[in-house]
């Protein structure tokens, strides 16, 4: 029996429509592919399905209770309803319950990539009813003085995405759940500071948090800055892995970085440098004008024309006095292709030598 023959046989019924699926796919994955919008708060497609929030429950013919679509594999001939009135009622009740355990629902999108997921669902289901009042879960950690990650657990809904992303994606196993039940508290070993734990400040927990309970402290500095948040896709400037990132800007200000969840090299992962060490770009120390050295050894700011003329003149003089083998170029492993290409062309086209190298030997 060929694999393709098997695949052709695999169909199920989703809200009255026949859909095909691959062996091993969950109901949720099939629904995602067919553009069904099943709500969820604990799901991150990079992680193993966990089945905590139960928002993704669906009705399956022949099964008494609804099943969590994220943890239930599709089977041939299965008949599934994703949005019956009863199911939608369950979802609304669940969301009302979750709203009741939190300090607030609306948070700044600067908190993190997924920080608006909860708000969006609450609004979609009209779940701000004020029902189910009672004690709140999770306690914000006000003693952790780290400059990167806000631990605002008053907003935590115990979806465990942070715990799982730290273990499954980052492999650091720094985050854990202390106690149990309604007393569950997301924390680190011995309930201490992140700095004293296995945390490497990669920020993945921040970016997967659906309520903003874990938040990007550096980006939040720009919360009050006027202007819309814009995102620009680029590549991280640090090591050679080449992680895709979205730069967050407001007007001319670079205010933060978020990992690209679909980045081919990183799939949403970053490290402390890529995530948090972006603000060298708009640092006051940046060179803003060309500088030329004075006879006394100090530097003087000057205009481009003069600086470029002086730069060229030095090379021309060397060429004249010492010949074409007197000039050397060192390119940067940090600058883009256009810089490196221009550098080598400058040497090869300008002087006919191969006196060009880069920092890879250092």
């Amino acid at each position: 029996m060929s694999a393709t023959a098997t695949e052709r046989e695999l169909t199920m019924t989703l809200d009255g429509e026949a859909v095909g699926f691959r062996a091993g796919e969950t109901i949720y994955q099939v629904a995602q592919r067919t553009k069904k919008s099943i709500p969820t708060l604990c799901y991150d497609e990079r992680l193993e399905a966990f089945g905590a929030c139960r928002l993704c429950v669906v009705e399956v013919d022949g099964v008494k209770a609804p099943v969590a679509s994220c943890t239930t594999k599709a089977t041939a001939g299965m008949v599934v309803r994703t949005d019956s009135p009863i199911i939608e009622k369950y979802r609304k009740t669940l969301l009302e319950l979750v709203v009741s355990e939190n300090r607030e629902v609306d948070v700044s999108p600067l908190r993190g990539f997924a920080s608006q997921e909860f708000t969006t669902l609450v609004d979609r289901y009209g779940a701000r009813t004020g029902r189910f009042k009672g004690r709140q879960s999770g306690t914000s950690n006000k003693t952790d003085d780290n400059p990167f990650i806000l631990r605002d657990y008053d907003l935590c809904i115990s979806c465990y995405r942070c715990v799982r992303v730290c273990a499954e994606q980052e492999g650091d196993y720094a985050i854990t759940m202390m106690n149990r039940g309604f007393g569950t508290q997301i924390t680190t070993e011995f309930n201490g500071r992140l700095k004293d734990s296995a945390c490497t400040f990669c920020g993945q927990c921040v970016q997967t948090c659906p309520t903003g309970a874990l938040a990007d402290k550096k980006a939040l500095r720009a919360a009050d800055l006027p202007g819309e948040i814009a995102k620009t896709r680029t590549i991280c400037p640090y090591c050679g892995v080449g992680c895709s990132v979205d730069l967050l800007t407001k007007g001319d200000r670079l205010i933060g970085v978020q990992p690209a969840m679909d980045g081919p090299a990183n799939q949403g992962a970053l490290c402390i440098k890529g995530q948090f060490a972006f603000d060298f770009v708009q640092h006051d120390d940046r060179l803003k004008k060309p500088l030329v050295r004075q006879p006394d050894g100090s530097f003087k700011e000057t205009e481009w024309d003069e600086a470029l003329d002086l730069a060229a003149a030095g090379f021309r003089r060397s060429l004249k006095e010492h010949g074409r083998r007197s000039i050397y170029g060192i390119a940067s492993g940090r600058a883009p292709h256009e810089a490196a290409y221009s550098m080598q062309k400058f040497i090869r086209a300008g002087f006919g030598t191969h006196y060009i190298d880069n920092c890879s030997r250092a």
Partner: protein, 565 residues
């Protein structure tokens, strides 16, 4: 032993590191040595077993009885479960406060309240001065004169020793199986007997064993669920304390039938004396060649490892139990896959209750038809019922399945205390909620009790007489579920908390209609969407409260008056 210096951490690590399921015993060894789990101890365990420190820390904090404070092990922990509440548990807790006493959920001594854990001992008593270590109450001779399966020989003196056990037919079944039967024949016999899971789920044992036997992958395991955590249940304790070899023999038979070479007993923390009894029994059986390699001189090998929980009701749920055994965070597992194919260490595993396993040796000795015939009205076999609360003769009873509830309550157990009437009983410990009024006219079998809107489950029945406030009883029950909710799934984690708050006046509408709507909505979503049985069952408490005691609810919500009569 006490003359020697305490073992070093390195010694303890070396003792356990290469054993199967090493985390719990290693943690207990350190906890017992130091009286608490220190940061240093956890760091050593993390390194030795290669468990990330954060994971280990989180897992340790999950269990009620692992203390992280120096001296914690030796501070008294007082049972304030539903039954002990009726017998002065809270007052005893107050009396021992000065010794650093804390409350603990039902510790399975409802037939002789109030249990207190201190150090490595369980004491019993209702006042600070009367606390004493006492053996588990022995089941009374069957008051109905019914033929028994499990308790048949339990009252024989010395039955807990290998010699005593063998004197009364012990290990004959294993001997017969190993020498005269094939695994297939044994599987067929168990299937024919219609024995079903006695931990509450009622899944046919033969079918489960067959699935394990058929599943690919080795080594397979037999895991005995001895985490008898359901409040009002204490039957497994009686079996293990007075008839431990019956359990061991049942496990060995399960191993023979399924091809599993190893077994684990996951015993609840609150039974320290039972732990010692089982340890002795396993050692005796190993020495006699009844466990280990080449059992009874044949080719069958079966080793039993005894493991101890640390205080978590959810570990009675088989997925949680397996995670706990493996040293993982004890959240339930998503099903499928089921343990029969993906159990302990992802290999085929039969998880069976103590009572189920202990039923097997008599079935093998006397035959499937004999066992089936023990029940009434076409029901097969017997069920142990743990009866407690407001009743003349609390204790464990082995009843023919199908026995009328009222026969048990009034004829066997002497009825309520003089001058009182029975207001309500719980079913399935607390998980089945309350039955009252006409619903008490049922028989002790699943179809009958499910017909009344509840279920028999593990067979714990707590009696409340007409002096009791049923809202308070419901609150105590829901508080237990909230305390024991693992926190993985949203409906249970938040729902048990909100229901508890609504049953003690801490939060919730003061308008009766709004109050009722909230309680019903929470119950509905918990039952429909919870990830495991805990969250699905907890709303039985509130639903049955609203069904049978609307006037008490009305009085509580509207007048804020206790229902004390």
């Amino acid at each position: 032993m006490s003359a020697h210096a305490a073992p070093s951490t390195a010694d303890l690590v070396a003792r356990w590191r290469d054993e199967p399921a090493p985390l719990l015993p290693l943690l207990h060894a350190l906890h017992d040595r130091d009286g608490f789990l220190s940061e240093d101890a956890l760091r050593a365990v993390s390194q030795a077993l290669r468990i990330p420190l954060a994971d280990l820390f989180g897992t340790v904090t999950f269990y009620h009885h692992f203390s992280r404070e120096p001296g914690g092990l030796n501070k008294p922990r007082i049972c304030t479960g539903n039954v002990c509440c009726l017998h002065g548990g809270n007052e005893l807790l107050a009396a021992l406060k000065s010794q650093g006493a804390t409350a603990m959920p039902c510790a399975g001594r409802c037939d002789e309240p109030v249990p207190v854990l201190r150090g490595h001992e369980q004491l019993v008593g209702t006042s600070a001065t009367s606390l004493a270590a006492k053996p588990t109450p022995l089941p009374a001779p069957n008051p109905g004169g019914c033929e028994e399966c499990i308790f048949e020989s339990i009252r024989e003196p010395g039955r807990a020793t290998l010699e005593g056990y063998r004197r009364t037919g012990g290990y004959e079944a294993l001997s017969k199986a190993v020498r005269e039967m094939t695994p297939t024949q044994l599987l067929a016999l168990v299937t024919e007997s219609k024995l079903a899971g006695r931990g509450g789920a009622g899944f046919p044992t033969g079918v489960k064993w067959q699935a394990v036997a058929d599943a690919p992958g080795q080594p397979k395991s037999i895991v005995c669920n001895a985490d008898e955590g359901e409040p009002g249940c204490f039957k497994d304790r009686a079996i293990m304390d007075y008839d431990p070899h019956a359990l061991l023999e049942g496990m060995a038979l399960a191993g023979f039938a399924t091809g599993a070479p190893r077994g684990f007993i996951y015993l609840r923390y609150e039974y320290p004396e039972t732990f010692r009894i089982l340890e002795r029994a396993i050692a005796e059986a190993e020495k006699a060649g009844l466990l280990g390699v080449n059992i009874l001189g044949g080719v069958f090998n079966f080793t039993i490892h005894l493991r101890r929980g640390a205080g978590a009701y959810i570990c009675g749920e088989e997925g949680s139990l397996l995670n706990s055994l493996e040293g993982k965070h004890p959240f339930p597992r998503n099903k499928p896959p089921f343990p029969v194919t993906h159990g302990f260490e992802n290999l085929p595993t039969a998880v069976n209750n103590v009572e189920t396993l202990a039923s097997v040796p008599p079935i093998v000795r006397k035959g499937a038809a004999w066992y089936r015939g023990l029940g009434r009205n076409a029901h097969a076999g017997t069920k142990l019922i743990s009866l407690s609360g407001d009743i003349q003769h609390p204790g464990n009873y082995e009843v023919p399945i199908g026995l009328p509830l009222k026969t048990l309550l009034h004829d066997w157990a002497g009825g309520p205390q003089t001058g009182r009437t029975i207001q309500a009983v719980t079913m399935a410990g607390l998980s089945g909620g309350f039955l009252a009024g006409d619903a008490l006219d049922c028989t002790l079998d699943e179809p009958s009790i499910r017909g009344k809107g509840s279920f028999l489950g593990a067979g714990g029945i707590i009696v409340f007489d007409d002096s009791r406030d049923m809202v308070a009883a419901a609150h105590a029950a829901m508080e237990f579920f909230a305390h024991e909710s693992c926190g993985k799934c949203f409906p249970c984690r938040i729902g048990t908390q909100r229901l508890t708050e609504r049953l003690n006046g801490e939060a919730g509408p003061s308008d009766l209609a709004a109050w009722t709507q909230e309680v019903r909505d929470i119950g509905t979503v918990m039952r429909a969407t919870s990830a495991c049985g805990l969250g699905m069952a907890a709303p039985f408490v509130t639903d049955s409260l609203l069904k049978f005691f609307p006037e008490q609810v009305d009085n509580y919500v509207v007048s804020k008056e206790p229902n004390n009569r």
